[in-house]
Symmetry: C2
């Protein structure tokens, strides 16, 4: 359900085609809420049916077309309502910690490989997020730049501060996962 609001957040800055939206999505909000293209396009159609956005069909070359999506007042309000409503938390469902609780059932090699992979996985996420933090600081992120362009001077600082805040949390999370996995590797070494 959050996909809808992630998309609205992007479109509120200014109209985008499905394709451009999808690209911006993967470069910004997609780091926090993954969705494949095959979910984005249908969701846009659904949002259009609900009147949250309107799609304006545009010609492109001889035969091609593309739809530019604009947020409607209803869509804007839906986003603001979501922001003001209590967040629906998902239940914990954490395969890595599930497996960690049963590491004694497998070989030290397999346990080692699992934690190594955990480090690889989170190192990759960490790189994404530190990269995004750097782009926030340099105002290199295209969505952020567009957003700041339509933001009154006095609100720019807040916009940047909250973006930083969000990504800092993710960076800390990744660092903690890596530190945890390293401790696990030490534990395996001691136990075997």
């Amino acid at each position: 359900m959050s996909l809808r609001y992630a998309l609205l957040a992007l479109l509120r800055v200014g109209p985008l085609s499905g394709y451009d939206l999808q690209k911006q999505f993967h470069q910004s909000v997609g780091h926090v809420w993954h969705a494949p293209d095959s979910q984005i396009y249908p969701e846009l159609r659904k949002m259009e049916q609900l009147g949250l956005i309107v799609g304006e069909e545009q010609a492109r070359g001889e035969r091609g077309t593309r739809r530019m999506y604009h947020v409607t007042d209803a869509g804007d309000q839906a986003f603001l309502d979501w922001m003001a409503a209590p967040l629906e938390y998902q239940r914990v469902r954490d395969p890595a910690h599930l497996r960690a609780a049963y590491l004694e059932t497998t070989t030290p090699d397999a346990a080692h490989a699992f934690l190594q992979q955990h480090i690889v996985q989170w190192t990759s996420e960490l790189a994404q997020w530190t990269g995004e933090l750097a782009r926030i600081d340099a105002v290199t992120n295209p969505m952020l730049a567009r957003r700041l362009a339509v933001t009154p001077e006095k609100d720019r600082e807040r916009t940047i501060a909250y973006k930083r805040f969000a990504y800092e949390g993710l960076v800390e999370r990744a660092e903690a996962e890596i530190a945890w996995a390293r401790r696990g590797l030490d534990l395996i070494a001691r136990m075997s």
Copy 2:
């Protein structure tokens, strides 16, 4: 898909009825991998069809029945294979950090309420997990006690160490989320 292996992990310790399994589940692995009863019972049936477990129908009083489930060799092997296989990581999908990235679009009050709720949420998870850690140390958790009873002396230390390791990671995660939200509250105070 991990639900299957969470259930196998419990059943490998010894046979349980669906009902007992469901209770043990919510008191142990359920803290790491949530599933409602309405998912557990059908999954058990599916696992039985796949030959991973066998259900033995038992009379209970005059008319009642219950199914005791045993892990088959195939089920045991499936669990060990899963433990040895690379873990399938889920894509990031984090509504709290998504919302955090857009806190400037709402009122300071709503932003404040959101982070307060985040603290409440993670404080509750934290309590679950520190409680579980305490039960691990006291060997009060019934599943752990049963598991240790069928574990050779020399492996008990490892079993406990890995359980601790898994829950320590979760405790740190919860503490980090709380610390992050507190920093967010400071930020809101400074920004408004």
